[in-house]
Amino acid sequence: MNDLDNVVREFLVESYENLDQLDRDLVALEREPGNRERLSSIFRTIHTIKGTCGFFSFSKLESVTHVGENMLSLLRDGQLTLDADRTSALLNLVDAVRAMLAKIETTGSDGDDTYQPLIDLLTCLQEPPQAPEPSPHHDVEMPTEETVVRPNTIGEVLVREGKVTRGDLLDAVRRQMNGDPLRIGEILVEQGLVKTQDVRDAVATLQESKAAASLAETNIRVDVGLLDKLMNLVGELVLARNQILQFNANQKDPAFLRTTQRLNLITTELQEGVMKTRMQPIGNVWNRFPRIVRDLAVACGKEVRLELEGKETELDKTIIEAIKDPLTHIIRNAVDHGIETPDVRLASGKSRVGTLRMRAFHEGGQVNIEISDDGAGVNTERVRAKAVERGLISRDQADRMSDREAAQLVFLPGFSTADKITNVSGRGVGMDVVKTNIEKIGGTIDLQSVPGDGTTLKIKIPLTLAIIPALIVTSGGDRYAIPQVSLLELVRLKGEKARTGVELIHGFPVYRLRGKLLPLVYLNHELDHAAPAPASEAINIVVLQADDRQFGLVVERINDTEEIVVKPLGKIFKNIPVFAGATIRGDGKVALILDVLGIAQSAGVISEVRDRALAELQDESDDCESEKHTLLLLGMGQDRRAAIPLSMVARLEKIPVKDVEWADGQEVVQYRNRILPLIRVSKVLDVDAGDDRAETMQVVVYTSAGKSVGLVVDRILDIVHTGLRAQRSTRHNGIVGSAVVQQRVTDLLDVEGIIRAAAPAFYEPAGD
């Protein structure tokens, strides 16, 4: 490799790139075999490789590419049509060329393999199917080479698209030369020869083609090692800048302050710039996928359409490298296991061709990648059975799992549901490796699957690993950095709240964050520091996201946010899960970076068992703190509301006012052959009765010890089932307390008290 000529090396780099392009072109061409531009581009690539290796005397490579070129020229001239066989053969050719290039790179020669079978195949496929007619579609008017000649002016574009004639264009140009200040497009529009829209389109076309042309001129190749070094240096510069800014606070010299400000700005810009040099569109990885999907689909006898969206989404190069293999694996899985064969698809009422969609986009400082297929989805029953069979979980656990949880089992190490091992997937190293690799770069992966409808994998990864914003907190007197990607919010409890805000469930501290219980983890405890200061002062809670769980990290103090440069910790710390690395802060001190996932794991926040236990405890606590009640809501007077437990209500009756009689100074009605005493609740509560002239009364019948009494109320509003927490408990005037029901303050009636006040005889034992 050392004695390899620079020229050869350049040839290799260029050829590799060209081959990637070839893969894409060939797969695209199979879909639209008539596209001459692609055909000639493929032809040119192979031609270039052939020419160059003749120059370097790589004779075997030359002979292989030669046959390929022959076939391509026939295809280009329309004497052959491109079918699946020929595409496969050409793709094989690309592979062969790639293999030979690799050999050249390592050994300096193109190897001993002559690829005779491939050459024979290609030669054989060149036999035209005894074409009786010399290809009617052969377009003599458009020589292939011309398709790449790029137009330079709007006029040319317009003429080419047939919008104006060359003569009209010449007239316009003449007018311009005679001093007309208008532009060509404007002149043509003015003369009514073309529409404004056409000119606009032409301008767009022109700009595109110019951009394509200039790309080659404004790009240079840079060694990645150099970029890495630059990145490191910028990292150091950022640290030095941070340190200088700290000095700045004590300086009074305006010139010095100005200079440091400038240094600050320039450093920030430089940092962004260097980061950008390492950014690459995710399309660089995705470009391999059409070919992979095609090969897989052919191998599995399936038909798959691959849709790529958001190719231009940019990511740090190291991250791109890191996700290459996981993504490939996911795609393999999707085609092999997910998407069904055409007949199965048709039988289940889907279209013949399966769709595999990959979508990438930026969101919240992270890159999201979604891979979804419209295949069969994860068979959760089979997953459960497989996991039990392999001893990964117990039968009991499997039965208690939700389908969503069961689908996540595919991420367990040593898991594979493939019934037979194909050469594509099912070797037992699978999704667990994918998950580990994604987590290694600080990403997360989530799987959602609808049986029969398909599977969606969502991956979230950070944009870059080198410099990240972080929150600085204090624990045990030391500073620690928490990467901001996992940060959700900060909560500070002061005074009274600091004493009462944290509740214990079975010894586990929790905090009610907007009504939901947030498990709390004490950083001091996790780091084995001394117990935190007495909880009388403020409590600082950093709400963090780990996997799909949230938890609150209680720290002594929240200091600041800072851009930090992540430096790895030495090997001797690798078994401490709570640290992700270290950094040097503005004051020159070293601070450890907390690994949010690691803390969550070591504190048991994200173990499933504990989670379930917590959920159960939560239910219990709900029960004891505010039992659910069914209440009868009543309207009293103008707009007062009252409620009585439905359990105390025997019946609801409407009684005509005229039926009311009097007995022993008490209003009564005849009710089911008995005398029912009536109590006007509004009188007892001392509120104005509603409508006196109503013809009927609403009566709530209350029965106790075989005796009944009717409570006359103004209105019956509703029956509600609600948690109830009496907020005022003042047992007087027939009210036990008040609560908020349906967003209204509602009096809870003391039924027995009311009856006792109005009809004391009711509770006396039945006489005689």
């Binding site: 030095a240 030391d478 084995d528 078994n575 401490i576 040097i584 001190k589 070293v590 450890l592």
Partner: protein
Amino acid sequence: MSSTTQYCTFHLDKLLFGVEVQKVQEVIRYQAMTRVPLASPVVQGLINLRGQIVTAIDLRRRFEFAPRPAGRLPMNIVIRTDDGPMSLLVDEIGDVLEMSHDAFERPPETLRGVARELIRGAYKLTDRLLLTLDTERAVQLHGETKTQS
């Protein structure tokens, strides 16, 4: 003169140790350190060495000696290892001595425990022994960390 080796010497408790000069990156005074919770107690902390983060190992703890008397600050000997530079905390720095291999002897069989693990041998000086430290082993901690209860 290929049969001599230069040693950077230092004092630890009552003993005189030596590290091959080629392995030593630099010798610096005591630095403020950031402790690493949960790590082995042998790890004293992390220091900022001109922008590089270096782990400091307390050799007294490593050798299971008595702790350094209060108020006495250790010195850093920064050595090169496969895992980047590491700092060894020692009591005091001595001279650089050029030792002849004739004066070297492997440790006697009676040496046991940590001493046997970390001491490669001894050079016999006129009045005392210069013990050579196996730096690779000195910075290897068998990955032992305090496990959380």
